[in-house]
């Protein structure tokens, strides 16, 4: 199996503070790799480093066969991300149409062709076509997240990073977002890196998982092993603290 992203001994320091401290893992192509951990564990910094938005202090991140000196725009064609707060990743001064037009510039794609793909994807993501002329503040949380996903997918990336894809979404609609990501994996063989503090969600979507604690990877492997037979006390504590709905088994 070929590797989509390979991280070797990555270190990111902010002053003296090591936010990411010697992280090594590989994400197989077409798989879903889940990264879990608490606030401040370095999850988001690591993702920013994979995207080329954060320089490594030492170590290396190899993305498919991309040259390591490749410009961030070349990297962007291969890897896209949806960020934790989708409204803040869309420009507040631009309509959704204007924000999406930037993708055309990145890909040198003619307007007609881009507009066609946008209307196909609006339907695919369950968004009404009126969304396109709205501004980010006019969208609900669920809509904003779909628009962010639409923008990312328009680039036709091979790898998608989803940073807290369900944070702030109501339980009745978070499943929509997760089902969408699952479909994209099946239909387009997209490699997915999901970063989340939601252990229950990552446990169900990820093939492989890694647990971060204070900048280090303390545990990694097949998701079923990490979640159902953790080898570290830290992961056991996290799982134990997770609120449980005892009634669930009897309902399903």
């Amino acid at each position: 199996m070929s590797v989509a992203v390979e991280i070797t001994d990555a270190v990111v320091r902010f002053g003296e503070l090591p936010a990411v401290n010697g992280v090594t893992f590989a994400v197989p192509e077409g798989s879903c790799f889940g990264v879990v951990g608490e606030s401040g564990s370095g999850k988001t910094t690591l993702m920013r480093a994979i995207l080329g938005l954060q320089r490594l202090t030492t170590g290396a991140i190899a993305v498919s066969n991309l040259d390591k000196n490749a410009h961030v725009r070349q990297r962007a064609r291969l890897i896209q991300a949806i960020f934790q707060d989708p409204a803040s990743s869309l420009s507040p001064r631009r309509s959704i149409r204007q924000s999406l037009a930037e993708v055309g510039e990145l890909l040198d794609e003619p307007n007609d062709s881009l507009a066609n793909r946008i209307s196909v994807m609006l339907r695919r993501l369950g968004l009404s076509s009126s969304v396109i002329d709205k501004y980010p503040y006019q969208l609900s949380g669920g809509q904003a997240r779909r628009v962010a996903l639409l923008r990312a997918l328009l680039v036709k990336p091979r790898i998608l990073i989803a940073d807290e894809p369900t944070a702030g979404l109501d339980v009745s609609i978070q499943g929509d977002m997760l089902n969408l990501l699952q479909e994209l994996r099946r239909d387009q063989n997209l490699t997915l890196i999901v970063v989340s503090h939601n252990l229950a969600v990552v446990r169900l979507v990820a093939d492989y998982a890694a647990v971060m604690f204070r900048g280090k990877l303390v545990e990694q492997g097949l998701a079923e092993n990490v979640f159902d037979a953790p080898s570290t006390n830290y992961m056991r504590q996290l799982l134990q603290a997770w609120p449980r709905l005892h009634a669930h088994a009897s309902l399903s």
């Binding site: 879903c32 608490e38 606030s39 949380g141 109501d170 339980v171 009745s172 609609i173 978070q174 499943g175 929509d176 997760l178 089902n179 699952q182 994996r185 099946r186 503090h197 939601n198 252990l199 229950a200 969600v201 446990r203 169900l204 979507v205 990820a206 093939d207 998701a223 079923e224 504590q237 996290l238 799982l239 603290a241 997770w242 609120p243 449980r244 709905l245 005892h246 009634a247 669930h248 088994a249 009897s250 309902l251 399903s252």
Partner: protein, 336 residues
Amino acid sequence: MKPPWTRSRIAIEDLSVDFATPAGIAHVVRNFSMEAESGRIVGIVGESGSGKSTLGLAILGLLAANGRTRSGALIIGDQRYDLTRTDVTAKLRGGRVAMIFQDPLSSLNPVFSIRSHLYEILRRLPSAESAGSWPIVAETALASVGIDHPRQRLDQYPHELSGGMRQRVAIAMALLARPQLLIADEPTTALDVTIEAQVMKEIRKLRDTIGCTILFITHSLGLVAQHCDDIAVLYAGEKIEHGRVSTVAVVPGHPYTSALLACEVSIDQQRGPAARENRFRVIPGELPDPHHRPNGCIFKSRCEFAFEPCADIIPPDYPGSGEPGHKARCHLRALG
């Protein structure tokens, strides 16, 4: 230190809250009533737009300028407080009723030390401790909610504390105020799961120490199942189900409650052999417009079981199951 008042039954009667918006009057909470025995932790569960936070703010008279409590009363023991009157709610605040907010950084005053926050409570207490004892009382309060080095913490400011510590300070303030009703609005949403568990433990300890009733406002059914005695489920501003958590979580009486429970992703849920094949439950459809309440059942447009009476008749509180006190507003329950 004894509570200044005795344990009492708490009830909320017919609370309705409106907001004036450019699109007209939005009815955000409609005719909400409930009662709880003293010392119960009642989980108020609902999604965005259900009115759960508005409910808490209305009791304390802290609605935004365009909000208005149209009707409603809070009953504590044999006392009745008219929630439409701002002078009444102002007296309740920090006295018989206290609140812990989702974001303690915005509820604690950034320019005052932790000491000032705690002294402010002591100053307002009816059974005022003598000012000479305040340092030791404040320090003891911080220590009892699990804050280390309490003496040094007294002179720190909110921004110097972590999110979990700030919530503990808010709990310590409630501990000193000794309210009969504590409203906790999503107090652990911003916290990591291990800190969340610790803060929930402190909230329960607070209840055990001062015997107050707690309205625990949350979107997390898991937290309610684990920490609450009773549950009230809100949908689009209306209470649609109420009962003991142990009953409602197992035999929900309303289809919305069932759907919410089914959507909750559980940490010990059965998993398919391939991760990419796992599917997640959703509740299709959208909340009704708060400006125009649809006729009949409020949930009918999203309900897979909706039938004739749901179209026009607002369902009353039917027995939700055999258990006394379990009520559900669903016509299906009339069929048994």
